[in-house]
Symmetry: C2
Subunit: 270 residues, 2 copies
């Protein structure tokens, strides 16, 4: 005899799994929570898994082996990723977003929790099988999207700084050439990164690739691999050599005097 | 005749509501999604609401009026908030977290998606009724917790910078005296903030209150109210005058030579 109804168990399981994407929960975890038999939980998982598949909002898989259990991975509902990014592009095309010097204002978009959460899910969905150990970003504007990507992947976020800070302990500093041609510094705390692990780089904007190259050199210092690079926006420059596994959600042409931003969603975004 | 079973509808509703806390969804939204009658959805909502209450993991309320519908607010399971913060304190007590100069390393905790998400829920739960329009933080380390708080409250995050940036447009800059007695600058983009709105300040650490006072002056420049201040950690100093509605999750004594951090969870955290 079960203490809770199937409806109730499924509601709570969905909530717990959504809050902790890509984390493996044992069947016992839910058996204990509900005072239910393993066979009951197995049936619940089968129903939930099928429902998530039907609505294409994620996958719930059974993971076998010693550390086995179930694992929820948020997906992006068919067409919803593109719809989200199209709506962001529409916002970006507004004339009042053009700043003096031809800069585009999009800080508000980069720290809107609901938008960055959606973008984080899109990035994560590309990298569930890449063996990512941590997400790396460079302060400041990319942090929210990077955090949401890290949350979906269930890995830590590590933030590279513009200079080393006393409260981060000993750090590795490198110099790199920024998009504007200046020599800049990038610093990563020694204790933050495990030697030999695999990173996913997530950042807000890619112009010439200077910051991205900086992050790659920093990773080399720790003998870390880079499994991919995700940018919210990239300058649409066919002449620029692309990085391996580079993906940008939005492509933007160089802003011309007196014009609005010409932006479009990348083809890979579904 | 309904296209989907109750189980299936409840699973999807839970997932959709969890992903968008504190947002009002109309009943029609789910009627359309499931091809179901309003009476059916109402029954689903009643079941889900009761289940969430039983497990104390949040509330699902019906909101009446023209903009009515249902709204999910994540809660913190009885005792779970305290349990989370106790576990973080235990991590902080480790001897190898003490850095030269008596600083405590806790950057890793401040950017761990699962930990900051939990802390964000605790902060948000204190402020669902405070009429918060946006969360304000100062770059860099408080951004993840501030973002998760903003997500739970369904409001934008606004990030104050150490200097004004070309890509943020015109900005209001103020000077403030830091904890170390230095004069520092804080900058907030004009277009980011709506005059007369209400802010919740969220930051990682409160020592003497210099940065917090800086953020308050910045808010004054925009005629904004501050409904509360949330800090992950505060220096446990009985002599310091407290701010209105100030809340810290962890209290830390000044670190003495050769000792580990003496930290404890604040009494209000349940």
């Amino acid at each position: 005899m079960d203490k809770f109804k199937r409806n109730e168990r499924i509601a709570i399981m969905t909530q717990v799994l959504s809050e902790a994407p890509n984390r493996i929960f044992t069947f016992s975890h839910f058996c204990d929570l509900f005072g239910a038999a393993k066979s009951t939980i197995s049936e619940d998982v089968a129903i939930l898994s099928e429902t998530l598949r039907t609505f294409k909002i994620g996958t719930l898989e059974t993971v076998t082996g010693a550390a086995g259990g179930m694992r929820y991975r948020p997906g992006v509902m068919e067409g919803k990723g593109r719809e989200l990014m199209e709506s962001i592009c529409e916002m970006l095309r507004s004339a009042d977003r053009i700043l003096p010097g031809g800069f585009l204002y999009f800080s508000d978009i980069l720290s809107d929790p609901s938008l960055v959460s959606g973008m984080g899910h899109i990035f994560a969905a590309q990298h569930y099988e890449s063996g990512i150990d941590f997400v790396l970003t460079m302060e400041t504007k990319g942090i929210p999207v990077a955090l949401m990507t890290a949350k979906a992947l269930n890995v830590p976020l590590i933030i590279a700084r513009r200079s080393s800070k006393v409260y981060e302990g000993s750090a590795v500093n490198i110099n790199y050439v920024s998009g504007k041609g200046d020599i800049e510094t990038m610093s990563l705390s020694r204790r933050a990164v495990k030697e030999g692990s695999t990173a996913l780089i997530v950042d807000d904007f890619m112009r010439g690739g200077g910051t991205a190259r900086g992050m790659l050199s920093l990773l080399q210092e720790f003998n870390c691999k880079c499994a991919g690079m995700c940018f919210v926006m990239a300058l649409d420059d066919p002449d620029r050599r692309k990085f391996d596994n580079e993906k940008s959600l939005i492509l933007m042409e160089k802003i011309k005097d007196g014009e609005c931003a010409r932006v479009r969603v990348s083809d890979w975004v579904k």
